[in-house]
Amino acid sequence: MAGSTPASLSADAPRVGAAAPRKSRPVTPAREAWRRFRRHRLAVASGIVLIVMFAAVALGPIIWPVPINDIDFAAKLQGPSWAHPLGTDDLGQDLLARLLYGGRISLAVGLAAMVVAVVVGILVGALAGMSSGRVDAVLMWLTDLFLSLPQLPLLLLVIYLFRDTMKGIFGVEGGAFVLIVVVIGGLRWMPVARLVRAQFLSLREKEFVEAARALGASKTRQVVQHILPNALGPVIVAGTIDVAAAIIAESTLSFLGLGFPSDVPTWGSVLRDAKDYLDIAPHWALFPGAAIFLAVLAINFIGDGLRDALDPRRVL
């Protein structure tokens, strides 16, 4: 009965803390979020791991100046040694150098695809959320349509169709990069759009937005100043997950041979090349696999931490 209803103390306990401004420094929402994020140990550790990874791939070629295409058949399929800390592949190429280089591409693809997905998602979601009626309905139909498409076959088809055109415009590597980013990002914006629309629908009815309208704020001002900043928390969380998903998608494409040209190493393509030698050179597959695993896991943990830190219920 009533006795079994969970006790919520929100009415009494937390409010007392906020009774009066007591600290001398203003507590910005960002600082508050950072304080909460720091309490999430796993997320902080993941953040450090990710920073180390970024630093490694950015500075890697300086610290470990071994060319990625140096073929040395004498040293092929070697396990880890001082000369080759992560071993070598079937052409005797140094795996550490290839993974450092490949990491640049994988992480860059992940980040760029996330940016594409988030930007498109925010645009579509914001437009749908601010306009009611027909525009909203059409945009949501479009979103549902994209969600219902079979992703992998479409990915393959688009890449197959446009690979040569893009190569002509941006060059071999650039073309592949732009195409993969656009395709991965272009198929991942829908959840963001839905999220943003839902946020907009609830936020635009909030009294502080109404207050802005009562003050004569234009629609742009309402969106930019009041609605969007309050809608961003969950979008940032969704964005981090998107980075991880895009890294995996790129690996999948590379694994299938549809990513970058075969001589350009990415984490996915190194893994693909290693698959035929699993029994004699397991290290070859192990290290790129571990890199993908670690990056994706770290990003997901950061997403978890951000979700707790940016929970709108705690800020509002």
């Binding site: 009965m1 009533a2 006795g3 079994s4 209803t5 969970p6 006790a7 103390l9 009415a11 009494d12 306990a13 937390p14 409010r15 007392v16 803390g17 009774a19 009066a20 007591r22 304080r35 309490r39």
Partner: protein, 337 residues
């Protein structure tokens, strides 16, 4: 509904063992910023069949006190730091959840402010009331459902036989609160804790619910602990009143004494800060506001918690917490004045 007030106000200082006796209760909450002393040494008691009003502003600890009685506090972050809750002489604090469940609903029932969220939307109200009856009275489902319809009839819900099969969303706010009361009373508890039962309701519906509670009390003879911030509601329904401020009881008195001769500056401020509908003739005077805001319960100052907002505050007030002293029959106040 005021008829019972006079005779039991004197009885409140009687010698018999009180139904519920809370002594020095401290319920604290561990938060990121430190220990929040939500309830910080509360003494109050309720006698059989009386209505005790517990008044105070949000954050004064009145809800936490009520939930502590039924041990509905999430632990952690909450914890009982000190004190005892004597239910008919038996301390509830060391009891296991299984033991508590025998007391909940059957002996002490609670109704909440939000009748919308206290009912489960996927079950019919009949099922929900029947579940309580089934659980505590060892009846069959069929008998329990008959009992549920009977309870709905008791709380004046029209067409109880039919309404028993309705879902919570098919009831209005006032009707839902009636359902909650029916559920709470279905095991004929000795004490009903009503936590702001009318705050979410309109004034005409509030009047209906308060009258219903009085009617039920007369019928079942239970005691009521009415938690509210509305002084008007207290004046019209309670025999005795406990005023809380920042986790402490600041005044306790029979209702006439409290409103006729409030002794604590906070109680005085509360009563005087309310505009009065019945005093249209002498109006247009400024309201007497209490300055400032409720202090943080994180690091409460050593002295009187109200000192920073008190008109009469003296140097001594900031040094030590004044004790609760008796200033009249059954009238206690925590103030040096």
């Amino acid at each position: 509904m005021r008829s019972t007030r006079a005779e039991s106000s004197d009885a409140s200082v009687c010698v018999a063992e009180p139904l519920l006796d809370i002594r020095g209760l401290k319920t604290w909450f561990k938060t990121d910023d430190g220990m929040v002393r939500a309830v910080d040494g509360v003494d109050l008691h309720i006698d059989r069949g009386e209505t005790l009003g517990v008044v105070g502003e949000s954050g004064c600890g009145k809800t936490v006190t009520a939930r502590s009685v039924l041990k509905l506090i999430d632990m952690p972050p909450g914890r009982f730091e000190d004190g005892e809750i004597l239910w008919q002489g038996r301390n509830l604090i060391p009891l296991e959840q299984a033991e508590m469940n025998k007391i909940r609903a059957r002996e002490i029932a609670i109704i909440f402010q939000e009748p919308m969220t206290s009912l489960n939307p996927v079950y019919t109200v009949g099922d929900q009331i029947a579940e309580v009856i089934e659980l505590h009275q060892k009846l069959s489902r069929k008998q329990a459902l008959v009992g549920a319809a009977e309870m709905l009839r008791l709380v004046n819900i029209p067409h109880p036989q039919r309404r028993v099969h309705d879902y919570p969303h098919q009831f209005s706010g006032g009707m839902r609160q009636r359902v909650m009361i029916a559920m709470a009373l279905s095991c004929q508890p000795k004490l009903l804790i009503a936590d702001e039962p009318t705050t979410a309701l309109d004034v005409t519906i509030q009047a209906q619910i308060l009258e219903l509670m009085q009617e039920m009390k007369d019928k079942f003879g239970m005691a009521i602990m009415l938690i509210t911030h509305a002084m008007g509601v207290v004046a019209e329904t309670c025999q005795r009143v406990t005023v809380m401020y920042a986790g402490k009881v600041v005044e306790e008195a029979p209702v006439e004494a409290l409103f006729g001769n409030p002794r604590h500056p906070y109680t005085q401020g509360l009563i005087r800060s309310i505009p009065r509908v019945d005093r249209a003739a002498e109006k247009k005077q400024r309201l007497e506001a209490i300055a400032g805001t409720v202090p943080s319960l994180l690091d409460p100052p050593p002295g009187c918690r109200f000192a920073s907002r008190c008109k009469h505050a003296m140097e001594v007030c900031t040094r030590a917490m004044p004790p609760l002293k008796e200033v009249g029959p059954g009238h206690f106040v925590r103030c040096v004045l």
